[in-house]
Symmetry: C2
Subunit: 164 residues, 2 copies
Amino acid sequence: MTTDDLMSKALASLNEMDGPIPVEAIHRLADLNDLDDPLTIAQAADLLDVSPHTLRYYERAGLIVVDRAPGGHRSYDAAAMRRLVFLTRMRLSGMPMRDLQHYVRLVDEGEATVPERLDMLLEHRDTICRQLRELTLSLAATEYKIATYGGRTGDDADFAEAGS
Amino acid sequence: MTTDDLMSKALASLNEMDGPIPVEAIHRLADLNDLDDPLTIAQAADLLDVSPHTLRYYERAGLIVVDRAPGGHRSYDAAAMRRLVFLTRMRLSGMPMRDLQHYVRLVDEGEATVPERLDMLLEHRDTICRQLRELTLSLAATEYKIATYGGRTGDDADFAEAGS
DNA sequence: ATAGGAGTTCGAGTGCGCTCGAACGCAAGA
DNA sequence: TCTTGCGTTCGAGCGCACTCGAACTCCTAT
């Protein structure tokens, strides 16, 4: 089995991916469209699949400003939810809090910072692509181990045949 | 632009990926084949793209036993390197140290633990696939923002049209 | 009216995976 | 020979992103 074979198998697995995550994610995004009433922190957290603690943490970190209902409870409207979807997606793809704070600062500074924001996004896209490549390699390695019955940590099932 | 379009674009980007990482990785793996002399910790670290500190840390953590040259210096032979390639690839794809320690313990316990090891690998494969799906969504989100000139953190460039 | 549950703030704690510093030892080139 | 630089051990420290606990407040349903 060559490395190319491994990669093909890995990419094939990729195409078989019809798991629950995208569907779920899209449904949650779709919910944002017909969002007329603002949400409580628990509802927002549920939708975004993070904890209320984390939402407060993001707010403390300056990533978002959230309206308050009379009584002081947080109130997440559609705009807040859209920003949070963006934030959580960036976090999920490994953008550090620091960078998100910087990005948000740029947004606050107005249109003049669009080029820098664009740079950040382009750089982050590269980061994601790199991660995708590395993950695909790891998937190939894992598939290979599985194919050889998950043995011996590389004493046997190794990458000896892997050559460009 | 629909979600499907976004996904298509994201997957297209995926196919354009001819970056330095896989090539580099494969070359480094290929080097392992004609590895007759054992390596120093610095050489091993270089090849694996981790720090010597990290290699010592993995050893302390019980993930690998490394030969010593006369004089006490660590000496990484082909088998050690193969195990380390496996370990670093699993780490890179997010397998926790704990799980790797467990896996290695199972390996030490012999062939009887093959089924459990296989279970771990299957589960990890699922984890990788989930990560790939999430990353692909994040890539789509990033591409979309880039396409709309990286503006306003979701106040404008949002996912309002994402349906189905 | 009151009990329960969900919300609030604040600071402190946790878990993970390194990463570093100090004090020391061997080893190979000028 | 000597020096300089990579190697060693050990424990401690760090950075990140949450995560939690305490003490309190507020809405809601009985």
